[in-house]
């Protein structure tokens, strides 16, 4: 492998990692802060991609970003409403919205399951023409993704330090305490899920525009991939302030993509990605659990062999 191809690999991993880290940051808010496992993530990611593509194709590259995020807010609002006001179990609410979004996404794409943006002006093509002739001209997609990630982290970190942000973090921690602070946890859950889903949709929108096409399966398995990145990021940079942890999410997304890109280079077929992400999530969640159980398990095993007196 030449140095050039290694750099190219790193660049691809960085681009995909940056774009997908927006979804990881969304889960950082909903899963780590609000303690809600938002299973509507897959559908919402595709929704952002579909809405963004539809608006961009109609000739509004900047509006496409805003429209995608607004669509994400709506999706998050419905998920939150189901679980706070209508008595639907939190996991089930996500699954229901996810299923419903499949139809909506196809409707947004005009009844087709594929939209092409080969000749569409997007924020990526605009950045490409802005940067043409400068040393960064080859990295226009990294620049766009990087700007998006920096903006989202800045907004998220500032937001989590406000009174509303503190209330959202407390809701996932101890809803009783939020109520006794005269704040309605229903309100904080709704706001939290709206914000997190807007990030997810933004992530989908940018991925679609960078690869110049959307298909209905673009978001499939996204929640597991993002969760894997979140858990990797938490292991690498899980301690410290909110800013460090948020940056850790991006690092986690990058590491995940790097592992995956290398695996592809070693001739792992592309369809294995989802299995790899599932396994990473299982290892990241079960690993610490099994480590805790290990001493007990060890004693049981040695007892079975007759090496340890039972009484």
């Amino acid at each position: 492998m030449t140095l050039g191809s290694v750099l190219l690999l790193g660049q691809t991993a960085l681009k995909l990692g940056l774009i997908c880290s927006l979804t990881v940051l969304a889960l950082f808010l909903s899963y780590s802060m609000l303690n809600v496992c938002d299973l509507s993530t897959d559908g919402c990611f595709t929704l952002g991609a579909a809405v963004g593509a539809a608006v961009a194709i109609s000739g509004h590259p900047f509006l496409s970003i805003i429209a995608a995020m607004a669509a994400g807010v709506c999706s998050g609002f419905v998920t939150a409403l189901l679980q706070t006001k209508l008595g639907v179990e939190s996991l089930l609410a996500g699954i229901i919205v996810n299923t419903g979004l499949y139809s909506i996404n196809i409707a947004v794409m005009g009844g087709s399951s594929l939209l092409n943006m080969n000749k569409t002006e997007t924020v990526f093509t605009m950045m490409k023409s802005v940067l043409s002739g400068t040393p960064l001209s080859g990295q226009f997609d990294l620049v766009v993704a990087g700007i998006a990630v920096v903006l989202v982290i800045a907004v998220l970190v500032l937001f989590l330090k406000t009174r509303l942000g503190l209330a959202i973090r407390a809701t996932g921690n101890n809803a009783d305490m939020v109520r006794s602070s005269s704040i309605n946890p229903v309100f904080t859950t709704i706001v939290g899920l709206c914000v997190s889903n807007s990030f997810t949709a933004l992530s989908g929108c940018l991925l679609a525009q960078s690869q110049k096409s959307v298909d209905i399966n673009i978001g499939t398995g996204m929640v597991t991939i993002a969760l894997a990145s979140l858990l990797i990021g938490g292991t690498v940079m899980g301690r410290g302030g909110i800013l460090i942890r948020a940056v850790g999410m991006v690092v986690g997304a990058f590491i995940f993509r790097l592992v995956y890109t290398v695996a592809l280079r070693l001739n792992m077929p592309a369809f294995m990605l989802k299995l790899v992400s599932s396994i990473i999530v299982v290892i990241a969640i079960s690993g610490p659990y099994l480590k805790k159980q290990w001493p007990q398990l060890k004693r049981r095993l040695s007892h079975r062999k007759g090496g340890d007196a039972a009484c």
């Binding site: 921690n173 305490m177 005269s182 704040i183």
Partner: protein, 261 residues
Amino acid sequence: MLKLNHISKTFNRGTVNEKVAITDLTLHLKKGDFATIIGSNGAGKSTLFNAICGDFLTDTGSVVLDNEDVTFKPQHQRARSIGRLYQDPMRGSAPGMTILENLALAAGSGGWFSHIRKADKERFREQLRLLDIGLEERMSQPVGLLSGGQRQALTLLMATMNPPKLLLLDEHTAALDPATADKVLELTKKIVEENHLTCLMITHNMHSALELGNRVLMMDSGRIVLDIEGEERDGLTVEDLLARFSSGAGKELDNDRILLS
């Protein structure tokens, strides 16, 4: 200050699990009253607190707090005028957040998008210093690292930093070791006296039921069977109280956790 007018509550009405929790209960507390509540298991003491806080809507009657009818107000709106401590020291604070962040939420000053200011931090530090358990040096540590007693003291501060119209204490020292319990109880007395709070305290310690406050209430089967205050209460012994209870309720006081000394 607090007026409960003929409130009653039955859970699971019409099923085999039907449970009458509060029966036509009327209670008036004057401003500055500090009443202790004792009663048998399942007498409805905690349910009474839940009714006052708005955990559920009562079946009948009204809850009036400081001349405002709050019967139909949701929990978080009533929380503005009610401070509450639970028996479980873990229930009052968010373990994953720092002491400073917990206090900032409880203080509730500023708008939704306000940040914690330096002045706020100094104010919280002063208030923590008054607790005298060294928490002022640990403001950036997560609350989950504190002991039960420290967490209960912190919750007490959080519940009273904006002096509430009514303070509800639900056996808030029962889960603490005796020495810590005494300390938290001392703090409670100090804070209640300094802020002239109106206060209801559930306890299973007969001694503190008589020693603390100016009024003692005994509950049984969702009713207040005994309400003693003023001169009648002075000089009352634990034995007197038990005798009065059995004549009032028509049975012996039956509480497996009761402390007679």
